[in-house]
């Protein structure tokens, strides 16, 4: 059998062309890298309106009337920082919320130090979150507020809503682990393998760098090689470089996690899977998910390697609420907030859903008067499913040839889909 010929001349010609292009790119890149770059994160203006220890409550400034009468409190995870929701002006969940007329508050957990090592989940939920919720209720006169949680912050919000249902009107959970008995996510597998007692006893707080190293190891081929190859290929593109640097800033801005909180979270959740079984105890009280009777919107990512869908999709079945909705987006753990595709689906959906459930006469139902402010009209209510009346929306997920989540290559964010 004749062996097909290799077009060696073509390969060599392409290599020569590549070398030429690289030289040109590097020349341009030096101009870009040596000039001033705009890489600031979280530029939407806000005021710190409440503070307890290291924890601050941000209130985003609005100049017009509020479309919803119920304020929204966003609780981020203790891992990484809430600046991810306001990464850059054109991809900012915060901006979308603001433009929709939400009265937005966000909890900034700050940077835990050695003095925070003994703080438990109880302190975070029943002191900090509860303190912020009470402050907002008092400040706005609202009897109940809307609560939105992200990842571990979502788990805290679930716990809080079960312990203090009288203070929460609507609950939104995003990439929130609630059921930990799955072998799908690497994090779930690894968390079972580690000796958390030894780790916490040694370090006090879990160092952010240790966690970041763990996250990089989730997919070293993409996160430690391909990501930087992508940067090298686009480093003559100013917008790309600025976005890339913003993302790098966010990724490696990793506060330590208070030791006792980490210990409890790993033992009670990853090892014991107590939350979904209504066996978790926080502050001496059992967390009964059936007490979550307020409407619940639950988002998760189909390609989330950190918190896989299996860890998220059981929550709506476990709560006592009859108004629940699951939304599985075709993206990863971070892409849900920052990819251009989900920017159009994620935040606007939350605004619509909250508007529908804002209760009494709201500014949302009035026509927008302010210039440049989008007032989202209430969409038809979600259909209730049979039996418990759950509305579920799980769109079919188109996949790329490589089997990965489709993402925006121009910003190099595809690599971050692994997180």
């Amino acid at each position: 059998m004749e062996q097909p010929k290799i077009s060696l001349d073509l390969i060599l010609a392409n290599l020569a062309e590549d070398a030429e292009k690289t030289q040109e790119r590097v020349t341009k890149a030096s101009e870009v890298l040596l000039s001033p770059l705009h890489t600031d994160l979280a530029t939407t203006p806000y005021d710190v309106v409440w503070q307890e220890d290291r924890v601050k409550l941000k209130h985003y400034r609005t100049d017009g009337e509020k479309a919803l009468k119920t304020p929204l409190l966003v609780v981020y995870a203790l891992i990484n920082r809430e600046t991810m929701l306001d990464l850059q002006p054109d991809r900012s969940v915060v901006k979308t919320f603001m433009n929709s007329g939400l009265d937005l508050y966000m909890l900034d957990w700050g940077y835990p130090t050695r003095k925070d090592r003994y703080l438990t989940i109880d302190d975070h939920v029943n002191c900090y979150i509860d303190g912020a919720v009470d402050f907002i209720r008092e400040r706005t006169g609202a009897e109940k507020i809307n609560l939105m949680g992200i990842c571990m912050g979502g788990t805290f919000c679930v716990i809080y809503s079960a312990l203090h249902p009288e203070k929460i009107r609507n609950l939104v959970t995003t990439v929130t682990p609630s059921s930990f008995d799955t072998q799908k996510g690497l994090l779930h597998i690894w968390m079972r393998a580690i000796d958390v007692d030894k780790l916490v006893d040694t370090f006090g707080n879990l160092p952010g760098d240790v966690m970041n190293m763990g996250f990089l190891l989730l997919n070293p081929a993409r996160l430690m090689i391909d990501k930087y190859v992508g940067f090298f290929e686009n480093m003559d593109n100013r917008a790309f470089v600025e976005n890339f640097v913003r993302m790098e800033k966010w990724i490696f801005d990793s506060p330590d996690v208070p030791g006792e909180t980490f210990r409890q979270f790993v033992k009670d959740c990853y090892h014991g899977n107590l939350l979904i079984q209504n066996k978790l105890e926080v502050g001496g009280k059992r967390v009964d998910l059936k007490r979550i009777t307020m409407p619940l919107l639950n988002f998760y990512g189909k390609f989330d390697h950190l918190v896989p869908p299996e860890a998220c999709d059981k929550l709506t079945k476990a709560v006592g609420s009859k108004d629940t909705e699951d939304i599985c987006l075709d993206t990863g753990h971070i892409g849900i907030y920052v990819s251009s595709k989900t920017q159009r689906e994620f935040a606007p959906k939350i605004v619509r859903w909250l508007t529908e459930r804002d209760g009494a006469p709201a500014a949302a139902q009035k026509p927008a008067k302010r210039a440049g402010v989008l007032v989202v009209k209430a969409a038809p209510a979600a259909k209730t499913a049979k039996g418990k009346g759950k509305a579920r929306k799980k769109p079919a997920a188109p996949r790329t040839r490589s089997g990965k989540a489709p993402a925006d290559r121009t910003t190099g964010r595809e690599s971050m889909e692994a997180r």
């Binding site: 077009s7 392409n14 590549d18 040694t202 090689i225 391909d226």
Partner: protein, 312 residues
Amino acid sequence: MSAEQPGKSQPEFPLADWMKQSQEFWTTWMRAASQPREAVEPQESPRRTTGPGAARGRVQEGWETAFRMWQSLSAAASDPTSADAAVKGMETLPDFYMKLAQAGWLAVMKIQERMVEKAGKIGQKTEAYHFEAIDQNLINAWKEIYEEEFRQFYQIPQLGLMRYYQERFNECMDRMNLFQAAFSEFLYVLSVPVEKTSKVFQEKLEELQLEGKIPDKSRDYYQLWLRILEGHYMTLFQSPEYLEALRNMLGHLDSFIASKNSVLQDVLQFLPVPTNKEMDELIKDLHVFKRRVRELERRVKTLEKGSSPANG
């Protein structure tokens, strides 16, 4: 006591001659030094307990005590039995150093042996996407040698006032070595997918070549290599071998940091700064107080609400 056997000479302490000579020298010197005082001060006069004369007397007494000790020591050293013991003791020192050197040499030889073995394995079939039999011979070689040959030196019982400090320092060194071995093992496990990927990549290229589909752009080669590498890592990260290496590395890291902190704690105790241990105790107390205050605040608020006029 055994009598000296005829025909068998006693071992002579190597420094006996020098000790004898120095003893004679210091005896002469001491006599000369004490003479003027005896000439000036009559024997029957009471000894002065204060003033410069008394100070000189204490110095001289000190000299005399030291001299008598030296006399006793040199006499003991000149004793054939003691000399025998001392010589034997000194003979063991080279033995000790020899053992240490032997252990080091053995380690080098064993590592070299493993390297040769490993070199012989190059070219053998690499099982793609399987990590059950990760070849860790080289890493294990150092680990075994350290545990068998070197570790015992750090476990020699320590004596005296500083024994606990020395023990903690030795423990820290021991744990650092164990961590380094575990870390090397972990890094090796992480490097295995790269090795396997090269092999699979080569096979893929051969396949593509046979099919006449060989890529002509460097980016396509890179993407192919990256996909294979990613696949290998995904398989590795779920394997029990990786989990064991991770657990082992983290366990040794924890142990090393804990023992390093103990040594630092010892050092910090000598400085006018609070140690981490002390700060942690204080922080814990504050934490407990804050919780109590918060709980009391809640109760007060509840009581206030209950006793407000609106509630009757």
